[in-house]
Amino acid sequence: MVEERVAALSTRSIKREAKMWALRAAISMTDLTTLEGMDTRDKVRQLCHKAIRPDPTDFSIPPVAAVCVYPNLVGAAAEVVGGSAVKVAAVSTYFPSGQAPLDLKIAETTQVVADGADEVDMVIDRGAFLAGDYVKVFAEVAAVREAAGDACLKVILETGELGSYDNVRRASTLAMAAGADFIKTSTGKVSPAATLPVTLVMLESIRDFYRNTGRAVGMKPAGGISSAKQAIRWLVLLNETLGLEWMTPQRFRFGASSLLNDLLMQIRWLGTERYQSPDYFTRA
């Protein structure tokens, strides 16, 4: 059922004005991400400049929603994007595994917020979840929620490790009930990462949670979304499931790195009617 609905929606053709709208919306919803062991402060600074002004030749392009970095690099990111519309998101709770004692996870979260993170992307303990210890998972999310204070809390379910749609649904509801502002598919370190069917299951959980509690929770697919064409499929799914109210960076994000340049290339293609080359876009 889930796959059939996704397949049907994926064939929808989005052209011209609607496509341009979608491309620009996708940029403003992007969490521009770098999560590599070899990240440096300078690389993060460069990424932040790109986040603020994605295309230096076109000032009409909106900034991205946030940059997403490792805890060590929160300070470097905050120095550059401070005062701009771009937020700093830090992965936390011993990303990507989440296999650490709770007090360490809380300490890490407190630290990244103190260093200037506006948003915290935490991981759930999949081991505990799969072992059926839902109480532990719930308690950890709730504790990190408290440690994060006013920061926006995104909870990564790592759906590629959860095994079934039922588990995805269960983990989504659990994370929302424990206080998540966003639920997020993946760390990007596990394959499969974000897929459309898993996203649909999560969007439907968000819809039902909203109906039951009145609290609107955001969605963040992350990992493997690298082309504008894919991004538009996600936006179609979002629009069909949660509607226009969710088509905003406050309620929807893409966790991505190479997606941004493809969006920029597509926008320039629509403007020039010339096929574009990555040679003419800045790297981040």
Binding site: E273, R274, Y275, Q276, S277, P278, D279, Y280
Partner: protein, 281 residues
């Protein structure tokens, strides 16, 4: 056993080492010179062109990373494969109106041309490059390097020799090619693609599209990920618009008539890199 049913070949495009139909599903009919035979040929769209450029870009690093000597071996291998299909090529040229003698002659010339360019693969840089005299204790060396992805609008006549004269010099220096064949006798381009596919040419190094050059050439000339275009198959009246489109990313362009074995057809799609190297006193 009764009379056999005819088994006729479907002529398709050649992109990334495979033979897909046009994504648009379109074809166009080509009638033989005496009207006895009609062949339906794939009519490539701009999206097929885009896929071909993408394949050529992906194949570039591997192909230009090969030694010139090795590229020469591959070009020689293409000549062997064309020789093997000489009768097929000649028959197809005859369908287009060539006499049997002219057809055989053109096939031979095309093969010899491939051998000629095969020889240049590891020699053109000695002729096009230079050791420059400088006032200082340095070697100053200029070497040609391939520009990247090169489009070729092939001429309508001579069709086989024109195709070879378009693609052989482009790939000899390490470029990858997207060839738009003339709609006059496009079966020959696809038969050539079959020779290429069996000649150790890596997938994507040569891509061949059949269709209408007036439809495809503007997209090729304007494509920002294409680094050069051979306009030999373009009518002189159409060239200025294409040159303008090609100027946006400073593509190398060229147009040659009746000069198939020509070193400038190689050097036109190279750029010169000059390096300084200290030599002591």
């Amino acid at each position: 056993m009764g009379e056999r049913l005819a088994v006729r070949k479907t002529y398709k495009l050649y992109i990334d080492g495979g033979f897909p139909r046009s994504e648009s599903g379109r074809t166009f009919p080509v009638v033989s010179d005496d009207g006895s035979e009609v062949v339906h040929i794939s009519r490539a769209s701009r999206k097929d062109l885009r896929m071909a450029v993408r394949a050529a870009r992906a194949a570039l690093a591997g192909w230009k990373g090969r030694s010139g000597y090795n590229r020469g071996q591959v070009l020689y291998r293409i000549a062997e494969m064309v020789e093997d299909r000489a009768a097929t090529f000649a028959a197809q040229l005859e369908l287009g109106g060539s006499s049997a003698e002219d057809a055989r002659g053109e096939v031979g010339e095309a093969i010899d041309l491939l051998i000629w360019y095969a020889g240049w693969c590891d020699k053109y840089m000695q002729v096009v490059g230079n050791m420059n005299p400088v006032a200082g204790p340095f070697f100053n060396i200029s070497v040609p390097e391939p520009v990247g992805v090169v489009g070729v609008i092939a001429p309508s006549a001579p069709v086989l020799r024109g195709l070879v004269a378009g693609l052989a010099p482009v790939v000899s220096s390490g470029n990858t090619a997207v060839v738009v064949a003339s709609p006059a006798q496009p079966m020959i381009a696809i038969t050539l693609a079959e020779a290429l596919a069996t000649a150790d040419v890596p997938a994507g190094v040569v891509n061949i599209l059949t269709g209408f050059p007036e439809e495809l050439a503007p997209w090729l000339a304007g494509h920002m990920d294409v680094n050069g275009v051979d306009f030999s198959g373009v009518h002189p009246e159409g060239i200025s618009d294409l040159e303008e489109a090609a100027s946006h990313n400073l593509k190398r362009t060229g147009r040659w008539e009746g000069s198939d074995a020509n070193l400038y057809r190689i050097s036109a799609f190279t750029e010169i890199k000059t390096v300084w190297h200290p030599k002591g006193r």
